[in-house]
């Protein structure tokens, strides 16, 4: 529904976005062709604040036109990584190149969505939009459409201090996506949004990618991963695994689910001795023998081998893969 609404509005208004879409439709650049050179390249990137090291040797490559999801537990340095990629922070050591240049010296290529940092609370939504419209030379009039799509149009004349967390997020997204640049760094774009809005945001992100833009999003939500070409998992200040969702799933060992009462038995044979909360039970990652048999000391009807989900993927790569060599 959101898509059809967007289409009808887009045709009527003739915004910058329409012109871009028409142009894109005419050219339809091949995705593989667009990915001929990296958009982002970091090498041994380190960032520390005083004694505390946050990023400890991040190596990451993002191809032009790609949609990369960066995932990791809270506090592992995803936001700091995004700040370094956006040119907001200087790395303590290592290199960052965005389109072949140091992002701290060139700031016309990136739109950076930070969490709860863009909007001025004492202004209304409309006044915030006007501020960024005057401030950034690449802001387009696409925001008119985005506020409709994100269901924010009726609240634009309210002060942001009276907005809910989700409304603030939608306004910040509107600002960030209205900036016409080749790279979008979106730090938790769907945080605090309801499911309908998440779908709408995914639609907007996909649209950007169709226009040839590169998009990097950080998230904890499996839903956000579904739209990604590749996923990069961050743990312990490093990128511990990257790949397409299929490749990453293929590399996940056997997942066994059992009941809570068998948690200790599962932990004894689980990789890293760790078990995780599953859907109504306890899950662990096992090494299977050549026959695919599971050496779990409980009766056969008390456990089952399950297909890994996104939560398993997250747990494996952020909590186990970084401490073992299984990637």
């Amino acid at each position: 529904m959101a898509v059809s609404q967007r289409e009808s509005q887009g045709r009527g208004q003739g915004t910058d976005r329409d012109r871009r879409q028409n142009q894109t439709e005419g050219q339809k650049p091949d995705r593989e062709q667009r990915r001929s050179h990296p958009c982002i390249q970091t090498s041994n990137l380190e960032k520390s604040f005083g004694e505390e090291g946050v990023l400890e040797g991040v190596d990451l490559t993002v191809e032009t036109g790609e949609l990369l999801a960066v995932m990791g537990p809270n506090g592992v340095g995803k936001s700091v990584l995004f700040s370094c990629l956006a040119g907001s922070d200087h790395p303590s050591s290592g290199t960052v190149e965005v389109f072949g240049a140091d992002p701290t010296t060139r700031s016309d290529t990136t739109s950076f969505l930070l969490q709860d940092a863009l909007c001025v609370d004492r202004l209304t939504g409309r006044e915030n939009l006007r501020f960024y419209e005057q401030l950034h030379p690449n802001v387009t009039d696409d925001w008119h459409e985005y506020v409709e799509i994100l269901d924010l149009a009726d609240d634009l004349d309210k002060r942001v201090e009276n907005y809910s967390g989700g409304m603030k997020r939608k306004l910040e997204l509107t600002i960030a996506l209205s900036i016409d640049v080749p790279l979008y760094l979106l730090d938790e774009p769907t945080a605090a949004l309801d499911l309908t809005m998440i779908q709408a945001v995914h639609g907007l992100i996909r649209e950007k990618q169709t226009e040839g833009k590169t998009v990097v999003v950080s998230s904890h939500r499996p839903m956000d991963v579904e739209i990604a070409d590749r996923i990069a998992f961050v743990a312990d200040g490093r990128v511990v695994a990257t790949g397409t969702p299929d490749d990453l799933f293929d590399a996940v060992p056997t997942v066994v689910e059992t009941t809570l009462s068998n948690a200790e038995a599962l932990a004894e044979i689980a990789r890293g001795g760790e078990v995780f909360q599953g859907n109504g039970g306890i899950r662990g990652f096992l090494s299977t023998d050549a026959d695919g048999a599971v050496d779990l000391d409980v009766s056969d009807d008390e456990y089952e081998i399950v297909s890994p989900g996104y939560t398993d993927l997250f747990n494996y790569y952020t909590k186990l893969a970084s401490t073992t060599d299984d990637r």
Binding site: P29, S83, D121, P137
Partner: protein, 288 residues
């Protein structure tokens, strides 16, 4: 026009299809000015605090000092009006800047093609505009309570305007290092304006009531708050005997060297402000 590659984007930018550098700079100045003014206008508390405080103070003084000679009341009014300008510059500039720092907005600004000088200029224009309103309101309060004002000559107009502007610039820039160091909105809201209050009280209402000043002598013609105030008094108050109305000694700063000194103060302040904004807020080089 949107393009698919950054190389094209860059060529588009440098090719002059997008806005020219100066128009972008002006637009960014306007963005910061408008935003600061809107933030104040949207808050009655802030608006009353910054605009009504000095005028209200002058009305209070006027009632308290109803037997005071008109020219003496006028010089006190100028002292209060300059205090108002100082207070607003410290409060508005410091408070709004601290809000941006506390909310990590500079992280976003640093990722954008923003000019630090446009940021500084835009904020200063807003501060000057609000300070000008407060200054005029305070002078009007002085007139209402019996003060009389007149310009000394044609040269008084540019000198008075210059003295006012340089006062604003100096005190706004003074707020920057405090705010950058503390990164705290509350400190900026309450502690930074106290600098202005201390300067006002500690120098005998900015050097217009020398008997009340703990410091005395020629130094009152050299301090960054008392010098412009005493210059404004000389050019706006129709008095002949300065000692009689409590402004002298020291003798009034009438020579051109005092105007030059004020300009030097402002230039130093702007240089310091530019360096701090570039280096501490935008994490760029020492100079644009």
């Amino acid at each position: 026009m949107a393009t698919n590659t950054p190389t094209d984007r860059h060529e588009t930018d440098t090719g002059g299809v997008t806005d020219s550098g100066s128009s972008v700079w002006l637009s960014q100045v306007r963005a910061f000015t408008e935003r600061c003014l809107r933030e104040v206008m949207n808050s009655w508390t802030m608006l009353l605090t910054v605009l009504a405080l000095p005028a209200g103070l002058q009305l209070f003084y006027g009632v308290m000092w109803e037997d005071m000679p008109a020219t003496m009341l006028s010089s006190a009014t100028v002292g209060t009006a300059v205090f108002g300008a100082m207070y607003i510059c410290l409060y508005i500039f410091g408070y709004l800047l601290a809000g941006d720092l506390e909310d990590r907005r500079y992280e976003a600004y640093r990722s954008m093609p923003l000019s630090p000088s446009a940021d500084l200029s835009g904020r200063m224009l807003a501060g000057i505009a609000l300070a000008a309103v407060a200054f005029v309101l305070t002078i009007l309060a002085g007139v209402v309570t019996g003060g009389s004002f007149a310009i000394r000559g044609l040269a008084s107009v540019p000198i008075a305007v210059l003295a006012f502007l340089l006062t604003c610039v100096f005190w706004m820039i003074l707020a920057v290092p405090f705010v950058v160091y503390t990164e705290n909105e509350r400190v900026a809201e309450y502690a930074v304006p106290m600098i202005g209050m201390l300067g006002y009280m500690g120098t005998g209402f900015n050097g217009v009531m020398v008997e009340l000043a703990p410091i005395e002598g020629e130094v009152l013609n050299y301090l960054p708050n008392t010098l412009p105030t005493r210059l404004l008094v000389y050019h706006l108050v129709p008095a002949g005997d300065w000692a009689e109305i409590g402004v002298a000694p020291p003798a009034m700063p009438t020579g051109p060297e005092y105007v030059v000194l004020m300009v030097v103060y402002a230039l130093i302040a702007v240089a310091v402000g530019t360096v701090v904004v570039n280096k501490a807020l935008y994490k760029r080089g020492w100079w644009p």
